[in-house]
Amino acid sequence: MHSNRFQERVLQGIFSVWLLSSFLFITLGLTPEDHFFLMLRFEKWLALNAVGVAVAVSTYVFQTLTHSRILTPSIMGLDAIYLLISLVLISAFGTVQYLAIDAMHLFLVNNVVMIGFALFIFGGLILRFHQDMNRLLLIGIVLGLLVQAANEFLGRMISPEDFVVFQGAAFARFDQLDRQVLWVALVLLAGCLCLLWRFHSVLDIFRLGRSHVINLGIAYVPMTCLFLMLVAVLVSISTALVGPILFFGLLVVALVQQCFPAGHSGYHLLMVAMVGALILVAGQTFFEHVLAMKATLSVVIEVIGGSVFFMLLVKRGRQ
């Protein structure tokens, strides 16, 4: 049992560690004169935080909507859909025209398509199978595999040159962030977080289950759609910035829920956002500056997150 004061302390503690690792991440090995590199690092730091927060928060909201601790947007293939959009564009218009599209336009188009997908596919599934969690879980995992398979299939159909371009879009690339996209993403992220914060008490009721939502006079379908749209935008943000991360959201949310099962949604949202940002910033600092290994963080996260996913499936498969 944790008292509110204890919960606040933990949040403060995590915040301090996050501040410390942020400072280290930006400044380690640099002097105040290295303006250019400091700025580069600062942008990378912004992106890391945005991704950590977006993935963790979207996973938390999505799990609340599906009433499941196992499903996440990425397991259901939402970020793979983002890549599918790029692939379809490349195979339809060819690389030259694809590359000619302004990165920010591409990002916004992707956002709109993602919202559509989230509403029609996930909205439809949630509203239809809300009584049958096992089926929703199964459909979700198969859907995720299907979208990935479609990606692979289309990837083989296009020419090797096109595929290289696609890979550029598909995989983490902190080093060549598009500045415009980063700032637009940050603005969108801030908007999504504000809206979510405004409705966090509705999330509390959603965690009681669908019948309580309706019984307590909340418009179930419109609210579900709103939350799904926010999830879609958040996933677009993280995918546009670093590409798909399969198990990171699951890892963060499972960690927070394991430690603070009794928290309210408001606290949970703050907590998963902080932990998400902290893991990425501290992890990246550690791997980049201490171990001097660049690309290993995502691998480590996926391995740990994958194991957590497996454990949750074994332990809580029935929920």
């Binding site: 019948s211 019984n215 099962p261 009794a262 309210h264």
Partner: protein, 251 residues
């Protein structure tokens, strides 16, 4: 007053509830009885807006559930379903405070705390206020869930098989508390019961459903005859009178 007019329900061409007419007076306890699959829970879910109305209308004191804003209905009718699975780990007090959502919309005020306090006392849960639901016994948990519906402050309360898995003490305690609440606060309670003896002892009005249609309805002393019960459940029973109440021996 609850008016159910021409309400039917089909699922994949299978009729679960035939077009039903039912008019129920307020300020009493109404027991829905009938064999499994008779459509009792479906009717209750339709009344609580958990299932969409396919035909007909349902009105609570002239408020039509399909045209009245959900926020208004939430202050008029509350339901407790058979199964609740919460994602959050909640204390009894948290749970009761959530039920005040139609009034505080996320920001509990002092009168919301007052109502919660009153209900904790009424349902003898004051000592358990800070206990987590998963630490309660089945009977205590059920009392907490019923207290939650009462916290919602609705005139009409729908309970789907609240006596499931309760021992003799808790079942009786719950039913006497419900009876008391009808007198104390003019509540109207519609309750799905499997044990017709509880219906006989605690209900003012019985509605018996079989295969999606009303088989009979009326005061327990009139409708609980051995013929009726046999027609309803297909079980031969003896009905005896005990202190002016009818009891069925069906063992």
């Amino acid at each position: 007053m609850i008016q159910i007019q021409n309400v039917g329900f089909k699922r994949a061409d299978k009729t679960i509830l035939e077009a039903t007419q039912l008019s129920l007076e307020a300020r009493q306890s109404i027991a829905l009885i009938g064999p499994n699959g008779a459509g009792k829970s479906t009717l209750l879910s339709l009344m609580a807006r958990l299932l969409p109305l396919q035909t007909g209308q349902i009105l609570f004191d002239h408020l039509d559930i399909s045209t009245t804003p959900s926020q208004v209905m939430a202050k008029k009718v509350g339901i407790l379903e058979q199964h609740s699975h919460f994602m959050s780990r909640l204390t009894v007090q948290d749970l009761l405070l959530y039920a005040r959502y139609p009034y505080h919309r996320g920001r509990p005020k002092s009168d919301d705390y007052d109502v919660v306090e009153k209900m904790l006392a009424y349902f003898e849960l004051s000592k358990l206020r800070a206990t987590f639901l998963d630490e309660l016994s089945g009977g205590q948990r059920q009392m907490a869930l019923v207290a939650m519906v009462f916290c919602q402050g609705t005139d009409y309360i729908l309970l789907d098989e609240p006596l499931n898995n309760l021992d003799m003490y808790h079942a009786r305690h719950l039913m006497t508390t419900l009876r008391r609440a009808i007198v104390d606060w003019n509540k109207t309670i519609v309750i799905v019961l499997h044990d017709i003896n509880y219906a006989s002892l605690y209900a003012d009005h019985i509605v018996a459903l079989k295969q999606g249609a009303i088989l009979f309805q009326g005061a327990p002393s009139e409708v609980l005859t051995s013929d009726n019960v046999q027609a309803l459940y297909g079980v031969e029973v003896d009905i005896i009178e005990h202190q002016g109440k009818r009891l069925s021996l069906h063992f």
